[in-house]
Symmetry: C2
Subunit: 243 residues, 2 copies
């Protein structure tokens, strides 16, 4: 983990840019406090760190108000990372299939499954390195972003003790099956009128989640219309489970 | 409104018993504060004030922590009020129909519609009298209880500006149709594994609610298993809308 840049945000949160085996990432830590070490939230996103940066900063600042550090990593094939021709082709095919109203299952598998397989070990390495830094000890939560990556990490990574999921995403059937084996507390956000995702599939996914403690928070509105109070509810979810 | 009893709870909340045209009711006010007058939450319940009293006190104390007064009224045919033979017969028939797996629509109509017709004007009278007391000014929210009564009141009573609904209840089809005309912000609690209510019907009801601002909070567990954090979320909903 090579740190390349450090800046102080208005509220005293420290933002550090780094690369990890060449992959760009960001780490945010709360203003120095009495706590010798703090819990960590992995901030998921759909790929493209620079475009997501303003929103990621907001989420990191929210986590910092709870006393938590946050970290994120660019996704394979996104942002400044080399494009992956198979991903590009699958993404284009997904767009076409959606426009034409074709069945999506096969192309969702082609797009999402390899991405999960590549990203999950990278985020586990991120976890190794961030938890080796002084002042960050876990426990670890994972927040939002690509729901399939979040669920895979919550399943395979024992250091993750809670996950908040955002339902507006295409989930391969095999990942839904995996989700039945989840055990950590889960919080799932759903936008009731998400224009590009099937509500019933998302409700079925919530139903499938194996965890004995799970909450669905659904709000009226489209994919990008998550209300501010829903973000606050996610913050309280992590306060319950990372303290 | 004739007050019959006054007591101080541990946290300084004042509980007053009253009768309103002979109907028993309860009023709770927060400890004296700098506020000259406070908002009000009507506390819904399934009928039987004495049995519900411990839970109602908890909800009133939660409202008082937000600086809100609370009031409730016995339902027609429940508690110390005279039994209504038609209600008793419908209730028995509902139990039989559930036990036998028979269709419920007709008996739900027979049980719930007359109850809504009788209860709604009583609760509007309650509102008249409570808002005439010094120190209580509104705005008014309605919280939980019989969802059909809550939705009817939220529809016909302009002084109600926000409603939290509990989905575990039988709702006549005509009340679902009414709910399409609701406009106030709504918060609906759903227990995902409610053993006596149909989940899909409750999701369809949420979908039907006409309000432009509505939130569904679903948690794993049975009818009586609403987690504490869901109650806190209801409190925050009212803080957003009654302040």
């Amino acid at each position: 983990m090579d740190f390349t840049d450090l800046s102080h945000l208005d509220d005293g949160v420290v933002e550090r840019r780094f690369t990890l085996d060449g992959i760009p990432g960001l780490l945010w830590t709360p203003p120095a406090s009495a706590d010798a070490s703090v819990p960590l939230i992995l901030l998921g996103h759909p790929g493209g760190l620079e475009g997501m940066h303003p929103r990621l900063v907001q989420r990191a600042q929210s986590a910092a108000r709870s006393g938590f550090a946050s970290a994120t990593l660019e996704l394979p094939g996104s942002g400044d990372r080399p494009r992956i021709p198979d991903f590009e082709a699958a993404r284009a095919d997904l767009g076409r299939a959606m426009a034409q109203g074709d069945p999506l299952d096969a192309v969702v598998d082609r797009l999402v499954l390899p991405l999960v397989e590549r990203a999950a070990p990278e985020w586990r390495s991120l976890l190794d390195d961030v938890l080796a830094l002084p002042g960050i000890r876990g426990p670890v939560g994972i927040s939002g972003g690509f729901i399939s990556i979040g669920m895979r990490l919550a399943l395979v990574e024992p250091r993750i003790v809670a996950a908040s999921l955002y339902a507006g995403s295409f989930v391969p059937a095999s990942i839904v099956e995996e989700a039945r084996r989840l055990t950590v507390p889960l919080h799932m956000l759903l936008q009731w009128d998400d224009e590009s995702h099937n509500r019933q599939e998302m409700l079925d996914l919530f139903d499938a989640l194996g965890s004995p403690e799970k909450t669905l928070l659904a709000n009226l509105g489209g994919h990008t219309g998550v209300p501010a109070h829903a973000g606050e509810d996610v913050a309280r979810f992590f306060e319950r489970h990372l303290r």
